[in-house]
Symmetry: C2
Subunit: 313 residues, 2 copies
C-alpha cells in the first residue's frame, strides 16, 4: 500500500483500461434492510456515492411497495437526486413501474429477469417465457421513449431450487432480452455459487452466440467468497461493466443464502491495484460506507472498508 492508503499500481496484461462500476447499494442493498431507512438518508447516500465518482448509481425501484416496502418512497426519493450528473437507473418490474419512472424523468431503467423457472415463479409469479413476454412491451416502450434499458438476469449460474443452471439456458434468456432492445445485461450470480470456470464458460458461450462484450455486465455475490475472483475472470474476458454494492450492502430477500453483494471497495482496491481506471475516489467511497453503516447501526461487511476504517482510527 502506498502512503495515500491505496494499493500500488501494477497493471496486468489482457485487461481493460477502464471499468464502469455500476453501484447497486442504494437499491439492491437497501431493499434488503429490515428497518426503514429515512428517505433523506437514502438521498444523501446516493449523493455521496455519486460524489465518490461512481458513474452509475441505481437509485431505487418502482416495484409495488407491497413486495419491497423498503423502497416504497421511490416517488419521493428520485426527485431528490435526479439533478446529479451521473447515470441514475431505476428498477422497473413491469409497465406500471415504467410509467412511474417515466413520470419522474428517469433516463435508464432496469428490468429484472430470471434464468430459471423456479426463480421466475418465486420472484415474478410467472414462467420464464411469460416473464419475457411481459418485459417485451416494457422494453419497447422504454426504447421508444429514448431510455437506456438494462436487463438483470438472475440465477445465471445456480438456483437454490434447481441447482446448477445449464449454460445454454442462461444464454437463451440473455439473447431474448437483448432481442427486445436491452442495451446491457447484468449476469447475476444471485446465490453466489459461481466459480471461475463457470463464469468463463458463460462468457464464452455468450460471445459465441454473438453477444457483444460491451453489452455484458456481471453481478457477483460473495456468499462463498468468490465474487472478486469471478470478477477478475470476467475482466480477462473483456467485460468492462461490474456491479457492486458500497460497503457490501444487500443480497436478495427471495433467495436463500443470497447474502453479500460484492463490496464496491474491495472491487476498487483490485482495480486500482491493476491500474484500471474507474473514476472512483476510494477514500470518499469508504467514508460513505462507514457513514451508511452508522445509519444502519451495524458494521460494513466489506473487508476493505473494515481495513481502511480501522487504520483511520
Amino acid at each position: 500500500m502506498t502512503a495515500d492508503g491505496l494499493p500500488v499500481r501494477v497493471p496486468a496484461e489482457g485487461l481493460p483500461a477502464r471499468v464502469r462500476i455500476y453501484e447497486v447499494g442504494a437499491r439492491d442493498g437497501l431493499q434488503n434492510e429490515k428497518g426503514t431507512v429515512p428517505t433523506e438518508v437514502k438521498a444523501e447516500f446516493v449523493r455521496r456515492l455519486a460524489g465518490a465518482g461512481l458513474p452509475a448509481v441505481e437509485a431505487t425501484s418502482f416495484v409495488h411497495p407491497k413486495w419491497v416496502p423498503q423502497l416504497a418512497d421511490a416517488e419521493q426519493l428520485f426527485p431528490m437526486v435526479s439533478d446529479l450528473p451521473v447515470e441514475l437507473p431505476v428498477l422497473v418490474p413491469n409497465e406500471r413501474g415504467l410509467n412511474r419512472a417515466l413520470a419522474l424523468g428517469a433516463r435508464t431503467v432496469a428490468l429484472f429477469a430470471s434464468a430459471t423457472e423456479s426463480f421466475a415463479r418465486a420472484n415474478l409469479n410467472r414462467t420464464v417465457a411469460e416473464s419475457l413476454a411481459m418485459f417485451e412491451p416494457v422494453a419497447a416502450r422504454a426504447k421508444a421513449e429514448g431510455l437506456r434499458v438494462r436487463a438483470y438476469v438472475s440465477m445465471v449460474f445456480g438456483d437454490p431450487w434447481e441447482g446448477p443452471v445449464a449454460v445454454p439456458q442462461a444464454v437463451d434468456v440473455c439473447r431474448a432480452l437483448l432481442g427486445m432492445g436491452a442495451d446491457e445485461l447484468s449476469l447475476g450470480d444471485t446465490i453466489g455459487v459461481a466459480t471461475a470456470g463457470h463464469v468463463a464458460a458463460v462468457l464464452t458461450a455468450l460471445k459465441e452466440a454473438g453477444v457483444a462484450t460491451g453489452a455484458i455486465g456481471v453481478h457477483f455475490h460473495d456468499t462463498y467468497g468468490q465474487a472478486l475472483a469471478n470478477t477478475l475472470v470476467a475482466l480477462q474476458h473483456g467485460v468492462t461493466t461490474v456491479d457492486a454494492s458500497a460497503g457490501g450492502l444487500g443480497g436478495c430477500p427471495y433467495a436463500k443464502s443470497a447474502t453479500g453483494n460484492l463490496a464496491t471497495e474491495d472491487l476498487v482496491w483490485m482495480l486500482q491495484g491493476l491500474g484500471i481506471e474507474t473514476g472512483v475516489d476510494l477514500g470518499r467511497l469508504t467514508a460513505t460506507s462507514v457513514w451508511m453503516a452508522e445509519q444502519l447501526g451495524r458494521p460494513s461487511p466489506s473487508r476493505t472498508v473494515r481495513a481502511l476504517s480501522h487504520q483511520e482510527q
Copy 2:
C-alpha cells in the same frame, strides 16, 4: 451448487489439474488467538484437518514461548499428532528451534524470513542479511538430516512501514533461501495489500530468475478481500501450492492490519468448482471449522463456512 452442497464443476483452461493445499490454521491461526487453547483441542484440530484430506498441516511452532506463548505447548502437542499420515511441518525460527523439532521427529521444517528490512527488524530483530545468515546453517543442518525445508517470505508485496516492496528485492530474498537449500517458498502477502497484477509481476520475475514454479507456494491474506483473486492469478501462472487457514483463522500479531488468512473453505470451493483436485472433503473441513469456532467462542470469518453451516441449520 449441486445436491451434495458442492459447486458445479466447470474446468477452465490453463490451470493445474491438482493443487496441494498447505493448511496453516493450527499454527498461523492459533498463534494469533488471545486466549489459551488447550493442547488436546489443538491436537484434535490437527487430526480433524488431516482427516478432512488436507495433505500438509502445519502443526505448531518451535519459536521461544516468550514470543509466541500460544504455541508454548509444541513439545506436548507434536507427539500427539505425529502418527498422522500427512505432512506435519513445524515452524523453526533458528537452530535451537530446529533441535527441538529434530528431537521430536519432525520431517518438515519451515523458516520464516522477511522481504523487508523493517519487518526483519520488528519480527527477527535483525537485518535481512543477518537473518539470512542465521537461517543458512539451520537449512544446511535440516537438509543434512533429510528434512524437507519450507521458507516463508513475509511482506513480499507490501510492508506496513515501507509501503510497496520492489519486486527485485523480494526475488533476491527468495533466491537466497532457495540457494541455501529450501525446497519450497511461501510468498507471503502478510498485510493483504497485493493485487492481481502485482502477483503476476512477482511470479514472472521469479520465473525469469530461474525459480521452478513447483518450488513456489503462495500465502495470501484477505485483509482487503483480494486473497482468492490473487490465488487464481497464481494458479494461472502454474503455482500448485496454496497456503490457507481453516475457517480463515489467524493473521500476524506483529503486522498492523494483518488480519484474515485466506479461508481454506473459500479456496476449496473455488478449486472444486474448477475441477481441480485437492483431496479435501469440503463437508468435513467445514464441520471442523465450525467445531473449532465453537472452541474459540466466535464465528468463523470464512464466507463458505458461514454459508454452508447456515444452510445446515
